[in-house]
Amino acid sequence: MSSNTLLQIKRLEKKYPRVMALDDVDFEVTGGKIIGLLGPNMSGKTTLLKSIAGLVTPDRGEIIYPNNVTGIDRLKTFSFLPDTLSFPAYMKVRDAFTFYSDMHSDFCGETAEKLAIILELPMDRVLKKLSKGMQERVSLALTFARKVPLYLLDEPLGGIDPLGKTKIMEAILTAPDEDSTILLSTHLVKDVENIFDSVVFIRNGKIIFSGDCDEIRETHNKTVEQLYIEMFTQAAIYGGGVL
Protein backbone atom coordinates (compact mmCIF):
# COMPACT_ATOMS: atom_id res chain seq x y z
CA MET A 1 0.00 0.00 0.00
CA SER A 2 1.66 3.22 -1.17
CA SER A 3 1.48 6.26 1.08
CA ASN A 4 -0.97 8.05 -1.19
CA THR A 5 -3.41 5.13 -1.37
CA LEU A 6 -6.90 6.22 -0.43
CA LEU A 7 -8.91 3.08 -0.93
CA GLN A 8 -7.86 -0.47 -1.48
CA ILE A 9 -10.01 -3.29 -2.73
CA LYS A 10 -8.65 -6.78 -2.34
CA ARG A 11 -10.00 -9.81 -4.15
CA LEU A 12 -13.61 -8.86 -3.71
CA GLU A 13 -16.20 -11.49 -4.56
CA LYS A 14 -19.97 -11.41 -4.54
CA LYS A 15 -22.18 -14.12 -5.90
CA TYR A 16 -25.88 -13.78 -6.55
CA PRO A 17 -27.99 -16.87 -7.26
CA ARG A 18 -27.35 -16.82 -11.00
CA VAL A 19 -24.45 -14.43 -11.53
CA MET A 20 -21.03 -13.59 -10.22
CA ALA A 21 -21.57 -9.89 -9.58
CA LEU A 22 -17.98 -9.40 -8.46
CA ASP A 23 -15.31 -11.86 -9.43
CA ASP A 24 -11.90 -11.35 -7.82
CA VAL A 25 -11.98 -7.56 -8.06
CA ASP A 26 -8.69 -6.07 -7.03
CA PHE A 27 -7.63 -2.45 -7.31
CA GLU A 28 -6.50 0.59 -5.44
CA VAL A 29 -7.22 4.24 -5.69
CA THR A 30 -5.01 7.20 -4.80
CA GLY A 31 -6.12 10.64 -3.60
CA GLY A 32 -7.11 13.52 -5.87
CA LYS A 33 -8.30 11.44 -8.81
CA ILE A 34 -11.45 11.04 -10.84
CA ILE A 35 -11.82 7.42 -11.81
CA GLY A 36 -14.32 6.04 -14.30
CA LEU A 37 -15.84 2.68 -13.55
CA LEU A 38 -17.00 1.63 -16.98
CA GLY A 39 -18.99 -1.31 -18.16
CA PRO A 40 -22.31 -2.26 -19.72
CA ASN A 41 -25.43 -2.78 -17.63
CA MET A 42 -25.26 -5.76 -15.28
CA SER A 43 -21.47 -5.80 -15.26
CA GLY A 44 -21.11 -5.32 -11.51
CA LYS A 45 -20.52 -1.59 -11.26
CA THR A 46 -23.35 -0.96 -8.83
CA THR A 47 -22.50 -4.00 -6.69
CA LEU A 48 -18.93 -2.75 -6.41
CA LEU A 49 -19.94 0.76 -5.38
CA LYS A 50 -22.54 -0.59 -2.96
CA SER A 51 -19.95 -2.90 -1.43
CA ILE A 52 -17.69 0.06 -0.80
CA ALA A 53 -20.65 2.00 0.58
CA GLY A 54 -21.40 -0.89 2.93
CA LEU A 55 -24.81 -1.60 1.44
CA VAL A 56 -23.82 -4.97 0.03
CA THR A 57 -21.81 -7.51 1.98
CA PRO A 58 -19.24 -9.20 -0.21
CA ASP A 59 -18.79 -12.96 0.14
CA ARG A 60 -15.05 -12.68 0.17
CA GLY A 61 -12.32 -10.07 0.04
CA GLU A 62 -11.44 -6.91 1.84
CA ILE A 63 -11.97 -3.20 1.52
CA ILE A 64 -9.47 -0.88 3.17
CA TYR A 65 -10.92 2.55 3.76
CA PRO A 66 -9.21 5.97 3.84
CA ASN A 67 -6.91 6.32 6.86
CA ASN A 68 -7.47 2.64 7.59
CA VAL A 69 -10.62 3.40 9.57
CA THR A 70 -12.90 0.54 10.51
CA GLY A 71 -16.38 0.09 11.92
CA ILE A 72 -18.83 2.96 12.00
CA ASP A 73 -16.10 5.51 11.18
CA ARG A 74 -16.02 4.19 7.63
CA LEU A 75 -19.26 6.06 6.97
CA LYS A 76 -17.45 9.36 7.43
CA THR A 77 -14.92 8.61 4.70
CA PHE A 78 -17.27 8.54 1.73
CA SER A 79 -20.36 10.14 0.28
CA PHE A 80 -22.48 7.87 -1.89
CA LEU A 81 -24.82 8.85 -4.71
CA PRO A 82 -27.04 5.85 -5.45
CA ASP A 83 -28.52 5.38 -8.91
CA THR A 84 -31.99 5.92 -7.52
CA LEU A 85 -32.86 8.22 -4.66
CA SER A 86 -36.26 8.76 -3.15
CA PHE A 87 -37.35 11.76 -1.19
CA PRO A 88 -40.39 12.24 1.05
CA ALA A 89 -43.32 13.75 -0.86
CA TYR A 90 -43.44 17.03 1.06
CA MET A 91 -39.76 17.92 0.77
CA LYS A 92 -38.62 21.00 -1.07
CA VAL A 93 -35.09 21.20 -2.44
CA ARG A 94 -34.19 23.55 0.40
CA ASP A 95 -35.56 21.07 2.98
CA ALA A 96 -33.42 18.30 1.54
CA PHE A 97 -30.35 20.46 2.10
CA THR A 98 -31.37 21.13 5.70
CA PHE A 99 -32.08 17.44 6.21
CA TYR A 100 -28.66 16.50 4.85
CA SER A 101 -26.86 19.09 6.93
CA ASP A 102 -28.61 17.77 10.08
CA MET A 103 -27.67 14.19 9.20
CA HIS A 104 -24.04 14.77 8.32
CA SER A 105 -21.56 16.65 10.47
CA ASP A 106 -19.27 17.02 7.43
CA PHE A 107 -21.91 18.96 5.48
CA CYS A 108 -20.55 22.26 4.15
CA GLY A 109 -23.14 24.99 3.60
CA GLU A 110 -20.82 27.09 1.49
CA THR A 111 -20.15 24.25 -0.96
CA ALA A 112 -23.88 23.50 -1.06
CA GLU A 113 -24.65 27.09 -2.07
CA LYS A 114 -21.94 27.03 -4.73
CA LEU A 115 -23.36 23.78 -6.13
CA ALA A 116 -26.90 25.13 -6.11
CA ILE A 117 -25.70 27.94 -8.37
CA ILE A 118 -23.64 25.76 -10.74
CA LEU A 119 -26.47 23.25 -11.05
CA GLU A 120 -29.19 25.92 -11.13
CA LEU A 121 -31.30 24.22 -8.51
CA PRO A 122 -34.83 25.49 -7.87
CA MET A 123 -34.58 25.67 -4.08
CA ASP A 124 -38.25 26.34 -3.38
CA ARG A 125 -39.73 23.63 -5.55
CA VAL A 126 -41.00 20.30 -4.26
CA LEU A 127 -38.43 17.63 -5.08
CA LYS A 128 -40.88 14.92 -6.13
CA LYS A 129 -42.37 17.23 -8.74
CA LEU A 130 -39.06 17.95 -10.46
CA SER A 131 -37.92 16.21 -13.62
CA LYS A 132 -35.76 13.14 -13.18
CA GLY A 133 -32.76 15.07 -14.47
CA MET A 134 -33.29 17.87 -11.97
CA GLN A 135 -33.71 15.37 -9.13
CA GLU A 136 -30.38 13.90 -10.12
CA ARG A 137 -28.79 17.32 -9.99
CA VAL A 138 -30.16 17.84 -6.49
CA SER A 139 -28.83 14.44 -5.40
CA LEU A 140 -25.42 15.26 -6.79
CA ALA A 141 -25.34 18.59 -4.96
CA LEU A 142 -26.25 16.82 -1.70
CA THR A 143 -23.56 14.21 -2.25
CA PHE A 144 -20.85 16.78 -2.96
CA ALA A 145 -21.89 19.13 -0.16
CA ARG A 146 -20.28 16.71 2.26
CA LYS A 147 -16.53 17.11 2.80
CA VAL A 148 -15.14 13.58 2.54
CA PRO A 149 -12.07 11.95 0.97
CA LEU A 150 -14.11 9.67 -1.29
CA TYR A 151 -17.19 10.22 -3.46
CA LEU A 152 -19.00 7.25 -4.95
CA LEU A 153 -21.27 8.21 -7.82
CA ASP A 154 -23.42 5.51 -9.36
CA GLU A 155 -24.57 6.56 -12.86
CA PRO A 156 -24.82 10.26 -12.07
CA LEU A 157 -25.62 10.98 -15.70
CA GLY A 158 -28.52 8.55 -16.01
CA GLY A 159 -31.57 10.57 -16.96
CA ILE A 160 -29.81 13.79 -17.83
CA ASP A 161 -30.29 16.00 -20.87
CA PRO A 162 -27.16 17.29 -22.67
CA LEU A 163 -27.28 20.71 -21.04
CA GLY A 164 -27.67 19.17 -17.60
CA LYS A 165 -24.75 16.91 -18.39
CA THR A 166 -22.31 19.78 -18.87
CA LYS A 167 -23.49 21.34 -15.61
CA ILE A 168 -23.02 18.05 -13.78
CA MET A 169 -19.55 17.65 -15.25
CA GLU A 170 -18.68 21.17 -14.16
CA ALA A 171 -19.86 20.35 -10.65
CA ILE A 172 -17.82 17.14 -10.58
CA LEU A 173 -14.72 18.98 -11.76
CA THR A 174 -14.94 22.00 -9.50
CA ALA A 175 -16.81 21.08 -6.32
CA PRO A 176 -14.77 18.52 -4.36
CA ASP A 177 -11.49 19.28 -2.62
CA GLU A 178 -8.40 18.70 -4.72
CA ASP A 179 -7.22 15.70 -2.74
CA SER A 180 -10.59 13.96 -2.75
CA THR A 181 -11.17 11.07 -5.10
CA ILE A 182 -14.28 10.39 -7.14
CA LEU A 183 -15.24 6.92 -8.26
CA LEU A 184 -17.89 7.30 -10.94
CA SER A 185 -19.72 4.50 -12.68
CA THR A 186 -21.28 4.98 -16.09
CA HIS A 187 -21.95 3.28 -19.39
CA LEU A 188 -21.97 6.61 -21.24
CA VAL A 189 -18.27 6.65 -21.94
CA LYS A 190 -17.96 9.23 -24.69
CA ASP A 191 -19.76 12.04 -22.91
CA VAL A 192 -17.59 12.04 -19.84
CA GLU A 193 -14.28 10.42 -20.67
CA ASN A 194 -12.35 13.70 -20.61
CA ILE A 195 -13.05 14.24 -16.94
CA PHE A 196 -11.31 11.02 -15.87
CA ASP A 197 -7.72 10.56 -14.73
CA SER A 198 -8.00 6.84 -15.21
CA VAL A 199 -10.59 4.22 -16.03
CA VAL A 200 -11.45 0.69 -14.96
CA PHE A 201 -13.35 -1.57 -17.38
CA ILE A 202 -15.56 -4.11 -15.68
CA ARG A 203 -17.29 -7.01 -17.40
CA ASN A 204 -19.25 -9.85 -15.83
CA GLY A 205 -17.87 -8.83 -12.45
CA LYS A 206 -14.25 -8.93 -13.55
CA ILE A 207 -11.86 -6.07 -14.17
CA ILE A 208 -10.70 -6.56 -17.75
CA PHE A 209 -8.65 -3.37 -18.06
CA SER A 210 -7.48 -0.44 -16.02
CA GLY A 211 -5.32 2.43 -17.14
CA ASP A 212 -4.47 6.10 -17.26
CA CYS A 213 -6.44 8.13 -19.83
CA ASP A 214 -3.44 10.09 -21.17
CA GLU A 215 -1.61 6.82 -21.60
CA ILE A 216 -4.50 5.29 -23.53
CA ARG A 217 -4.30 8.18 -25.96
CA GLU A 218 -0.51 8.13 -26.11
CA THR A 219 0.13 4.42 -26.45
CA HIS A 220 -3.05 3.21 -28.16
CA ASN A 221 -3.80 6.39 -30.16
CA LYS A 222 -7.40 5.95 -29.13
CA THR A 223 -10.04 7.66 -27.10
CA VAL A 224 -11.24 5.81 -24.03
CA GLU A 225 -14.49 5.09 -25.84
CA GLN A 226 -12.71 3.55 -28.83
CA LEU A 227 -10.68 1.31 -26.55
CA TYR A 228 -13.79 0.46 -24.55
CA ILE A 229 -15.74 -0.64 -27.62
CA GLU A 230 -12.77 -2.61 -28.89
CA MET A 231 -12.16 -4.44 -25.63
CA PHE A 232 -15.77 -5.26 -24.92
CA THR A 233 -16.35 -6.47 -28.47
CA GLN A 234 -13.29 -8.72 -28.25
CA ALA A 235 -14.33 -10.00 -24.85
CA ALA A 236 -17.76 -10.85 -26.20
CA ILE A 237 -16.26 -12.82 -29.09
CA TYR A 238 -13.44 -14.60 -27.29
CA GLY A 239 -14.54 -14.48 -23.70
CA GLY A 240 -17.95 -15.98 -24.21
CA GLY A 241 -20.96 -14.96 -22.22
CA VAL A 242 -23.28 -12.08 -22.89
CA LEU A 243 -22.33 -8.44 -22.88
Binding site: M169, E170, L173, T174, N194, C213, D214, E218, N221, T223
Partner: protein, 137 residues
Amino acid sequence: MNFTEKWREFDSSSPIYGQIIVNFERAIVRGEIDAGARIPSIRELSGKLKVNTNTVQRAYQEMERSELIYSQRGTGYFVMNNKEITNSVREKMVSQTVKVFLEEMYALGFNNQEIEGEIVKAIKANSNENGGQKHEQ
Protein backbone atom coordinates in the same frame (compact mmCIF):
# COMPACT_ATOMS: atom_id res chain seq x y z
CA MET B 1 -10.64 35.51 -23.70
CA ASN B 2 -13.15 33.30 -25.33
CA PHE B 3 -13.20 29.54 -24.92
CA THR B 4 -15.20 28.67 -27.99
CA GLU B 5 -16.44 25.23 -28.99
CA LYS B 6 -13.08 24.74 -30.66
CA TRP B 7 -11.39 24.54 -27.28
CA ARG B 8 -13.67 21.72 -26.26
CA GLU B 9 -13.21 19.52 -29.30
CA PHE B 10 -10.36 17.11 -28.85
CA ASP B 11 -9.14 14.67 -31.42
CA SER B 12 -8.73 11.09 -30.41
CA SER B 13 -5.15 10.35 -31.20
CA SER B 14 -3.16 12.56 -28.87
CA PRO B 15 -3.30 13.40 -25.18
CA ILE B 16 -5.65 16.20 -24.25
CA TYR B 17 -3.07 18.26 -22.35
CA GLY B 18 -1.06 18.60 -25.58
CA GLN B 19 -4.12 19.80 -27.44
CA ILE B 20 -4.80 22.39 -24.74
CA ILE B 21 -1.23 23.68 -25.14
CA VAL B 22 -1.65 23.98 -28.91
CA ASN B 23 -4.87 25.94 -28.38
CA PHE B 24 -3.06 28.35 -26.07
CA GLU B 25 -0.16 28.70 -28.48
CA ARG B 26 -2.52 29.49 -31.32
CA ALA B 27 -4.47 32.00 -29.26
CA ILE B 28 -1.25 33.71 -28.19
CA VAL B 29 0.21 33.78 -31.70
CA ARG B 30 -3.05 35.19 -33.08
CA GLY B 31 -3.16 37.82 -30.39
CA GLU B 32 -6.41 36.54 -28.87
CA ILE B 33 -4.63 36.42 -25.56
CA ASP B 34 -2.44 39.42 -24.85
CA ALA B 35 1.10 39.10 -23.61
CA GLY B 36 1.10 39.53 -19.86
CA ALA B 37 -2.61 38.72 -19.58
CA ARG B 38 -3.94 36.54 -16.80
CA ILE B 39 -5.27 33.16 -17.89
CA PRO B 40 -7.90 31.14 -15.98
CA SER B 41 -6.95 29.12 -12.92
CA ILE B 42 -6.52 25.39 -13.42
CA ARG B 43 -9.84 24.62 -11.83
CA GLU B 44 -11.66 27.33 -13.73
CA LEU B 45 -10.40 26.11 -17.09
CA SER B 46 -11.10 22.53 -16.10
CA GLY B 47 -14.72 23.47 -15.41
CA LYS B 48 -14.97 25.42 -18.67
CA LEU B 49 -13.47 22.76 -20.93
CA LYS B 50 -14.98 19.84 -18.98
CA VAL B 51 -11.65 18.09 -18.67
CA ASN B 52 -9.88 16.70 -15.66
CA THR B 53 -8.02 19.23 -13.47
CA ASN B 54 -4.86 17.12 -13.62
CA THR B 55 -4.99 17.35 -17.41
CA VAL B 56 -5.12 21.15 -17.28
CA GLN B 57 -2.42 21.17 -14.61
CA ARG B 58 -0.15 19.14 -16.84
CA ALA B 59 -0.73 21.54 -19.74
CA TYR B 60 0.09 24.52 -17.50
CA GLN B 61 3.22 22.79 -16.16
CA GLU B 62 4.48 22.16 -19.68
CA MET B 63 3.75 25.73 -20.71
CA GLU B 64 5.57 27.00 -17.63
CA ARG B 65 8.54 24.85 -18.52
CA SER B 66 8.62 26.21 -22.06
CA GLU B 67 8.27 29.70 -20.57
CA LEU B 68 5.08 30.50 -22.40
CA ILE B 69 3.30 31.29 -19.13
CA TYR B 70 4.39 31.90 -15.56
CA SER B 71 2.66 31.53 -12.24
CA GLN B 72 2.58 34.07 -9.50
CA ARG B 73 1.91 32.69 -6.09
CA GLY B 74 -1.56 33.60 -4.95
CA THR B 75 -2.56 35.53 -8.03
CA GLY B 76 -2.59 32.98 -10.80
CA TYR B 77 -1.11 32.23 -14.19
CA PHE B 78 -0.03 34.83 -16.74
CA VAL B 79 1.14 34.80 -20.34
CA MET B 80 4.81 35.65 -20.52
CA ASN B 81 5.30 39.22 -21.65
CA ASN B 82 8.14 38.49 -24.01
CA LYS B 83 8.09 39.06 -27.76
CA GLU B 84 10.95 36.62 -28.31
CA ILE B 85 8.96 33.75 -26.86
CA THR B 86 5.76 34.49 -28.76
CA ASN B 87 7.82 34.86 -31.92
CA SER B 88 9.54 31.54 -31.37
CA VAL B 89 6.17 29.87 -30.75
CA ARG B 90 4.92 31.36 -33.98
CA GLU B 91 7.97 30.09 -35.84
CA LYS B 92 7.62 26.66 -34.31
CA MET B 93 3.96 26.40 -35.28
CA VAL B 94 4.55 27.66 -38.80
CA SER B 95 7.47 25.34 -39.45
CA GLN B 96 5.52 22.38 -38.08
CA THR B 97 2.52 23.10 -40.28
CA VAL B 98 4.71 23.59 -43.35
CA LYS B 99 6.70 20.46 -42.59
CA VAL B 100 3.59 18.31 -42.40
CA PHE B 101 2.33 19.80 -45.64
CA LEU B 102 5.64 19.29 -47.45
CA GLU B 103 5.99 15.70 -46.30
CA GLU B 104 2.52 14.95 -47.58
CA MET B 105 3.25 16.61 -50.93
CA TYR B 106 6.58 14.76 -51.31
CA ALA B 107 4.77 11.53 -50.48
CA LEU B 108 2.37 12.32 -53.34
CA GLY B 109 5.39 12.68 -55.65
CA PHE B 110 5.46 16.45 -56.10
CA ASN B 111 8.75 18.31 -56.53
CA ASN B 112 9.52 21.74 -55.07
CA GLN B 113 8.57 23.63 -58.17
CA GLU B 114 5.25 21.87 -58.52
CA ILE B 115 4.50 22.46 -54.86
CA GLU B 116 5.16 26.16 -55.27
CA GLY B 117 2.81 26.24 -58.23
CA GLU B 118 0.10 24.39 -56.29
CA ILE B 119 0.36 26.82 -53.40
CA VAL B 120 0.04 29.87 -55.63
CA LYS B 121 -2.93 28.26 -57.39
CA ALA B 122 -4.62 27.36 -54.08
CA ILE B 123 -4.13 30.84 -52.63
CA LYS B 124 -5.65 32.41 -55.75
CA ALA B 125 -8.63 30.08 -55.70
CA ASN B 126 -9.11 30.70 -52.01
CA SER B 127 -9.04 34.48 -52.33
CA ASN B 128 -11.52 34.36 -55.24
CA GLU B 129 -13.86 32.31 -53.08
CA ASN B 130 -13.65 34.88 -50.34
CA GLY B 131 -14.48 37.74 -52.71
CA GLY B 132 -10.90 38.89 -53.05
CA GLN B 133 -10.59 39.13 -49.29
CA LYS B 134 -7.55 37.89 -47.50
CA HIS B 135 -8.43 34.73 -45.60
CA GLU B 136 -8.13 35.44 -41.92
CA GLN B 137 -7.68 32.08 -40.31
